[in-house]
């Protein structure tokens, strides 16, 4: 257990950046985004970044391979994966979300190699929360502002400074690298620092609970609420793209003559063409089915397959949906029908 020297995280970030590709919340034109670190302190009072750090493990788009030729003379070159990264200042909800995605993309049956390699080579340094944001509700979905799930190192803010604890061996290795930026934590009590974060006020987590929705999912599925919620949906991809647990992607070929690149890129179940099939059949033809899918997936399908909610309560959907169709609103409306 260590303390960040001089009560600041900046020297630690500087030390980490010396031999690592460091990513962190940065301020860019007034937006707080998770991006490549440029030497600044962490932004003041940020809660979660606009984009989720899932981008590091599952990029918005990436080229998978390049190919050239035809049939038996096809030359395929796999696209190499970039080197290891350190993700710094990740929030507990976002770190847990990386673990949730790994349930699916890292499963033994169908492992996604590129995701897996990135997950293994990314060190997650998580900053526990000492204040809940306007739309935070992690506790209502099984998370915690002090959770170390998905993290290699935990940082707990305390009155005396930042207390650090390595969660994994990889975390320990990284901490060893930056001894110069750390002080011994004399008398620092990690248990009570974590408990302080654990206990922060989070009004929304007291107010809503998805448990009833999950249990009574048959009724929920048939509820007229979906049509009302979806009526105002603009069919954009904001909710899925800012969500730290959404992992859907699609594959695309960019062809030029006999050569080309195969890409994959995020996709969203809110887009009309997401499930569009040959012959123009669309199993989710209107906003109603698509909206229902989004919430049912996180509150029921994911629960029945993986035993936990597919939502970590970061509140980004509530921050960003321009027409108020988000997890909090959905749970609140649905609580009234179950």
């Amino acid at each position: 257990m260590k303390m960040a020297a001089a009560g600041s995280l900046l020297p630690l970030m500087e030390a980490l950046s010396e031999s690592n590709d460091l990513w962190a919340p940065i301020v860019e034109d007034g937006q707080v985004v998770f991006g490549r670190w440029k030497g600044e302190s962490l932004p003041d009072n940020y809660r979660v970044t606009d984009n989720s750090p899932k981008e590091l493990l599952l990029p918005q788009t990436e080229s998978l391979m390049r190919f050239e030729g035809v049939y038996d003379q096809l030359d395929i070159k796999e696209e190499p994966i970039e080197g290891p990264k350190v993700a710094f200042g990740v929030r507990p909800c976002d770190a847990a979300a990386l673990d949730l995605i790994a349930e699916v993309l890292g499963s033994d049956d169908y492992p996604d190699e590129r995701f897996g390699q990135r997950k293994d080579s990314t060190t997650v340094v998580t900053l526990a929360c000492d204040e809940a944001g306007e739309h935070c509700f992690c506790r209502a979905v099984g998370g915690s502002p002090a959770s170390d799930r998905g993290s290699d190192i935990m940082i707990y803010p305390t009155d005396e400074g930042y207390l650090l604890r390595a969660v994994t061996g990889a975390g320990q290795d990284i901490l060893r690298q930056c001894e110069s930026a750390l002080d011994p934590a004399e008398g620092g009590d990690v248990e009570s620092a974590a408990a302080d974060c654990e206990d922060i006020e989070m009004p929304l987590a007291e107010e809503i609970s998805p448990d009833g929705v999950t249990e009574d999912w048959h009724r929920v599925f048939e509820s007229p609420i979906w049509e009302q919620l979806a009526g105002r949906c603009r069919s954009c991809g904001i909710c899925g793209y800012v969500c730290p647990t959404c992992y859907c992607f699609a594959l695309f070929d960019d062809l030029r003559g006999n050569s080309g690149v195969r890409f994959r890129g995020w996709d969203s179940c809110q887009f009309e063409d997401y499930l569009l099939m040959a012959g123009d059949h669309n199993p989710r033809p209107t906003e109603t089915e698509r909206t229902r899918q989004r919430f049912m997936h996180k509150l029921h399908y994911f629960v029945s397959r993986w035993g936990e909610y597919g939502c970590v309560g970061c509140g980004r959907c509530a921050d960003k949906c321009p027409v108020g169709i988000h997890m909090l609103a959905a749970i609140k409306e649905l609580e009234e029908v179950v």
């Binding site: 860019e28 034109d29 007034g30 937006q31 985004v33 606009d50 984009n51 918005q60 788009t61 080229s63 306007e134 009526g231 105002r232 603009r234 069919s235 954009c236 991809g237 904001i238 793209y241 800012v242 699609a250 695309f252 960019d254 690149v261 890409f263 890129g265 995020w266 969203s268 063409d273 509530a318 960003k320 321009p322 027409v323 108020g324 169709i325 988000h326 909090l328 609103a329 609140k332």
Partner: protein
Amino acid sequence: MRQLQKQLRQEAEDAFADGHVEVFIGYQEGFERARPVPVFVRDRESVQEMVLNEFSGVSLSKYLLREAERAQEDASIGIVARGCDGLGIERLLYDQCISREQLYIVGVGCPGVVDPEKAAQLCGEIPVAAEVEKQQVVLQTSSEELTVAKEEVLRDKCLKCDDPTPRIYDALLGEEIQRGPVRQNRFDGVEQLEAVSDDERYEFWVRQFDRCLRCFACRNVCPACSCVTCSLEEEEPQWLKRSTSSSEQFMFHFTRAYHVAGRCVSCGACEEVCPVGVPLMLLNEKLLKDVGELFEEPSPHLPSETEPLGEFSYDDPEGWRGEAGQS
């Protein structure tokens, strides 16, 4: 505004009672009071769900496209419209997406809409009520009352608005607020960007577009983006690749901006919905400024019969097929 809400409900109720309105597009209470959401009222009884307050400002006009498609042929669609939505409705009318006879527009003389994020910053919590006065805004939180300048708390788009009252309506709530002269500061941002070097400007846009998630919210909310199939979603040919390389991001943003050049009504909805703060209005305003200067249009964002880029004339000084003055 409380008074206006009462009037709105009355107008909507009368419209349903007359039997010619099938649906009324307005606002209802959202998850938070300071974030009302769009509502589609389909019967007289539900009219009481409608709200109209200092926070209800989400752009509504684009919903008319979908509702017009679903509506019975002779049925009308009611809609409440502040100045910006009024222009959005005009856009759809001039683009012949909907017909005037189909609409029942209840206009609002709009003093500006409070931005809940800005208000929360000022109050430390989202206020429960607000009153927009001539020069200032009174914010009401659970424990106190706070008076702040308009500039501090109204939405960005309201601070640049020249069109508080819709130009077309069937009923008007409250007083008409006269449109002022075009604001002097309207193109400040564009001019600042025009003043820097090409390289700096390029870097600026690379940085902005790099954040873009391609969620298409900007396009989906825009009343000037009314194509049935957007060219950017065509598979054959695939104009826009799914890659988010700088060149593809430029392709997306320039295509979007040029498609609405001379047609953008400057409602600001695109920028407002962007989840990552891409300053889309800077692009739109640059094109509006150019159209204004090149075609001597004092208010290029106002839809009209003879829009510089929306009309073909045999007398066009630049001719047809490159031969000046010849048809």
